[in-house]
Symmetry: C2
Subunit: 255 residues, 2 copies
DNA sequence: GGCCCGCATTGACCTGAATCAGGTTTCCCG
DNA sequence: CGGGAAACCTGATTCAGGTCAATGCGGGCC
């Protein structure tokens, strides 16, 4: 029931000065597939198998359940099997900051790789299920298989890339288009339709993530719909003109 | 003679569509001290010594000289001894994007830790000198000393933090104040005055880094001066009220 | 069913920063 | 020394997006 108004009060207004918060700065979103972790770095099949043996299934995760919270020790990495997650931070003044969304097939928890403590919260946006990868085992394996270490670094470096893409001064339309395309390509990579999206997150989460006002997100959706780029019905979104969307939002599209 | 007007043309205007550029997204700035790399992770003195043995001095670096460019293989990491550097990217359309500034005592080149190729350019802002840390040796050492690996991860994760601090929707004043404070605290950490700064970078570089217009940076400087927060004379800046600056710019201040 | 609450959309308005258009100073180089 | 190009500052204007406010809509719950 916390974090409703997530807007930042401007300096000029009745700003409530928030003290320096280091955690506030460690915004990490881990959007990487399990196969990405293993396959491209040339793990041998033996190693792959040993990795797979580590994986444990876990019961269903209900909407609103947390996988972990800021400060929790890094026990396992999570691979999303079904459902959506979001990771977020609560800043000192109670405002929420959405760091990223996590789709089926992606990995959550890398933000904690150092100092082995989670730097953000991860919560299910709808009923979901996950696999658990015990970090200790992963770490042991990493010592024997240098490729795994590199994979980790690679993923971290990809995080860095992704976070940078949010830093640029992009217009609202670029941001929204890029967001939609990113979801689209990630869904496609998992074998889903690339044109039909069901957004699991609210407009507010999207806006917060993109650092826009919810009203702006709404308006951009409407404008896109008017221009025939998309069809929107509540949280069902149909991408009608990937080409044009790409022209607008290319800056956001990370693999 | 490249990259003069680095402004982003807005979508609505006569936007020149720039194709997707992956490198554009991998914006990395490596602002970390050498001692930070070694000391806090509890390297034993023997290991420290072996690290020091790797270090090689290098002749003077002239203003405008590049340490490396995008795509160069990662041969060495650089520790700045004197002078300032900036790291930047040239986007597909020729616009420049400043990623960070590097002060004496800091480490440059971590952006390339994976895939061992530099992801940005690093150039001297004035006459400078550096030490070189051969990466191969560092890497060998890292295999024997797990703490070093962790240090690397830690630094990367710090990069991530820093990059995130630029992502928030901060006002021009917050950005500028934070920028000054960041320089101040970094200079102080190296034993310099924390109130008297000599900016090695142009207003344009600052603006580009903070994602503002140069005019805005200028105006904020003037406003701060009027309010008695700073005294500015060209590139000489005197911080007169750290307290108030801190209230304004706290969000930026990373260790 | 009817109430209520939270989400979403839309319009009117405001504001911070970009843009445009000067101007001055500094410094480089012939 | 003088010309010219940067760098820097300042004011006027514009505009994207935030803020405020009103309304619609769907779903849970008594």
């Amino acid at each position: 029931m916390l974090f409703f108004e997530a807007r930042r009060t401007r300096l000029s207004g009745t700003a409530t000065p928030s003290p320096l918060n280091l955690y506030q700065l460690r915004r990490t979103c881990s959007t990487c597939s399990l196969s990405e972790l293993c396959l491209p770095m040339g793990l041998e099949s033996g190693d792959m198998q040993r990795l797979e043996e580590l994986v444990a299934l876990r019961g269903p995760v209900n909407e609103g359940d947390h996988l972990f919270r800021v400060g929790d020790p890094l026990r396992v990495l999570y691979a999303v099997r079904g459902g959506f997650f979001k990771s977020y931070l609560v800043e000192a003044n109670g405002r929420e900051q959405v760091l990223g969304f996590h789709l089926p097939g992606e990995l959550i928890g890398l933000d904690a790789i150092w100092p082995e403590q989670h730097q953000c919260n991860a919560v299910a946006l709808n009923t979901a299920s996950v696999c658990e990868l015990p970090y200790a085992g992963l770490s042991d394996l990493g010592r024997q298989v240098p490729g795994l270490q590199h994979s980790m670094l690679r993923l971290l470096s990809k995080e860095l890339a992704l976070s940078h893409s949010l830093a640029g001064d992009y217009s609202a339309e670029e941001r929204v288009a890029g967001f939609l395309l990113s979801l689209s390509s990630r869904m496609k990579a998992r074998g889903h339709s690339e044109t039909h999206l069901t957004l699991a997150m609210s407009r507010r989460d999207i806006a917060n993530y993109l650092r826009l006002a919810t009203e702006t997100v709404s308006r951009v959706f409407s404008r896109f719909e008017q221009d025939g780029l998309v069809s929107v019905d509540r949280r069902e979104v149909m991408l009608r003109d990937l080409e044009k969307l790409g022209q607008i939002g290319r800056c956001f599209t990370v693999g």
